[in-house]
């Protein structure tokens, strides 16, 4: 097929990706947008198959074997695994799934870089004693391998933390930063030495060394980050997987990889920034400080007594409430309470109350985590309210029910300048007329600080499993 036509189909694919992402700006069009983007992907893949004979001829001189069989096996295996994973995964495990997918994106970019290195450098030198790869190609191969490797191992560690295969606590040891700097320096040294003389005997070892360093670096980059900071890590890894695809695009000199990789890279960066802002912390604070490791000592001591209430008490208040807002946090996912929460919401609506769900940007373990869970439980998406939209009206809310959230509703972040989380935007539930906090006990949140909300005049604690508590409220309403 004509090379111009191929480039043209890549442009079409790029346009479809852009339209697809654009349609993601509303829940009403998002699903179609995803399909549009998928069509773009199919076009790019088909065009690439049609392009292969020409690419092979340009590179190898002759077209003998394009290895369609191998490519097909790889794609069939990948399709089966991808289909199974996408169908079987539980919605509560979505953060783990996305972390793994990020990792797979990273490893495939690493492998593309490695494969091109293997052919252009190792195999070519073995035959001709010289390499066809210029300095620029070698440099982009390194970028592809480094970013890909960091994305791969970093995402696997994030996955393990989310899945609680390893502890969610940050792992910090002395000299960590120096070690990381040394690793980066080591990788760059390997890259520079190979680029200078790819024909040297030691070149292969240096290359393997660079791969090893990139993987180790990914591990060290993520272990000092605590479990509840995973939204930032996943966003960042998402961005890296895009950048890795971009780098792979420079390796094989293909514009569709660069466009798509840049789109994904930008997307990840934006999400990372949003997450950091929503915690009022800088990216470097999230990445390097080991936040949440020990209980922080800052913040004023809270005076007063937390008042407990029973579900029956809450029922009488809820029954007469005309507006109720649920504020979910990671505890909702842990307790799997999204379905009963929706059921209670519906009962309250039948009772004449206006019901909404206010979601803090960092609630849960990944951006938008709570929204997906509530959507799964059949909560209408126009009831999902963002923090900035609920706060101006919160004084008019009769009852706020906090389900498994803590730091994101901590008024100390607003009022107490000595608090370690001071400045973090919160959902001002304490300004609602009555607040019920569903919690197992008086334990502290991820930030390890006291929550003055629990001691407020208008706050009642309902201790116990969130799912059980909501269930008993549902039962009260039904009787």
């Amino acid at each position: 097929m004509n090379a111009g036509l191929i480039e043209l189909s890549y442009i079409v694919a790029a346009i479809l990706f852009i339209f697809g992402l654009k349609m993601m700006s509303s829940p009403a069009t998002a699903r179609k947008g995803n399909f549009v983007s998928f069509v773009g992907m199919l076009i790019a893949i088909v065009a690439t198959f049609l392009y292969l004979p020409q690419l092979a001829e340009a590179k190898l001189g002759t077209v003998t074997d394009l290895h369609y069989d191998w490519i097909a096996y790889g794609m069939i295996a990948g399709t089966i695994i991808g289909l199974l994973a996408a169908r079987l995964i539980a919605m509560t495990s979505m953060p783990e799934m996305v972390a793994l997918l990020n990792g797979f994106g990273g490893i495939s970019s690493l492998l593309v870089g490695w494969a091109v290195y293997q052919y252009d450098v190792v195999a070519t030198i073995a035959i001709k004693n010289s390499t066809s790869a210029d300095t620029l190609t070698l440099a982009t191969i390194f970028l592809s391998v480094l970013i890909g490797g960091v994305t791969f191992s970093g995402s696997l560690i994030a996955w393990a933390k989310l899945k609680e295969v390893i502890g969610g606590k940050p792992t910090v040891f002395p000299g960590q930063h120096i070690l990381n700097i040394l690793l980066v320096a080591g990788a760059v040294t390997c890259a520079v030495m190979i680029t200078k003389d790819p024909t040297a005997d030691i070149a292969n070892y240096l290359f393997w060394g660079a791969i090893g360093i990139s993987v180790v670096l990914g591990v060290f980059a993520v272990i000092p980050i605590g479990g509840a900071d995973m939204p930032v890590v996943i966003s960042l890894m998402n961005s890296y997987s895009g950048l890795a695809a971009c780098a792979a695009g420079f390796v094989v000199k293909n514009n569709i990889l660069i466009v798509s990789g840049a789109l994904v890279g930008a997307s990840g960066v934006i999400l990372t920034v949003i997450m950091c802002k929503a915690m009022n912390r800088s990216l470097s604070n999230v990445l390097f400080s080991g936040f949440g490791g020990a209980s922080s000592s800052g913040g004023k001591a809270v005076e007063g007594e937390a008042k407990a209430a029973s579900p029956e008490d809450a029922y009488y208040v809820l029954e007469s409430a005309s507006s109720v807002v649920f504020v979910p946090g990671y505890g909702l996912a842990v307790a799997q309470a999204q379905h009963v929460a929706r059921e209670l919401g519906e009962l309250l609506e039948e009772n004449g109350a206006e019901v909404s769900y206010a979601i803090h940007p960092v609630a849960g373990r990944m951006p938008g985590h709570m929204n997906v869970l509530l959507a799964e439980a059949n909560v209408s998406y126009d009831q999902l309210i963002e923090m900035d939209d609920i706060n101006p009206n919160i004084e008019n809310i009769d009852v706020a029910i906090v389900v498994g959230a803590n730091d994101v509703v901590n008024p100390a972040a607003r009022d107490d300048e000595t608090s370690p989380i001071y400045g973090m935007p919160i959902i001002n539930v304490d300004k609602a007329r009555t607040v019920y906090v569903l919690k197992r006990g008086m334990g502290m949140g991820f930030a390890g600080i006291q929550n003055p909300l629990f001691f407020k005049e208008n706050t009642r604690m309902i201790f116990g499993d969130a799912k059980g508590t909501i269930q008993s409220l549902v039962d009260e309403f039904k009787n």
Binding site: V98, V251, N371, A375
Partner: protein, 100 residues
């Protein structure tokens, strides 16, 4: 630097700006599907992997590496699009039809 690289860098720069423009309009409600969907797009590495495998000539090691890349990238593409579709299928407005 040859012209091709300049051209690719040009595309890169424009795409980054475009990406920032489009993505910043996505509401936080959809951030999870946005991630998994953009993740599927980053599976575009598949194109690179196919090229690497198809142009590997007789070198077996290259072919194996590239085929592995094809497999992982395909998981990314298929898994990413499917799971995004599954999630977005759950986002419903009241009164807009039953459960699909």
């Amino acid at each position: 630097m040859d012209n091709q690289v300049i051209y690719l860098l040009f595309i890169l720069a424009l795409s980054i700006f475009l990406g920032f423009e489009i993505i910043s309009k996505v509401p936080s409600t959809l951030h999870t599907p946005l991630m998994s969907g953009s993740n599927a797009i980053s599976g575009i590495t598949l194109v690179g992997a196919i090229i690497a495998a198809g142009t590997s000539g007789g070198d077996q090691t290259t072919l194996i590496l590239a085929t592995l890349a094809v497999t992982f990238a395909t998981i990314n593409v298929v898994g990413g699009y499917m799971v995004t579709d599954r999630m977005l299928g759950m986002f419903k407005k009241k009164g807009s039809g039953g459960n699909k």
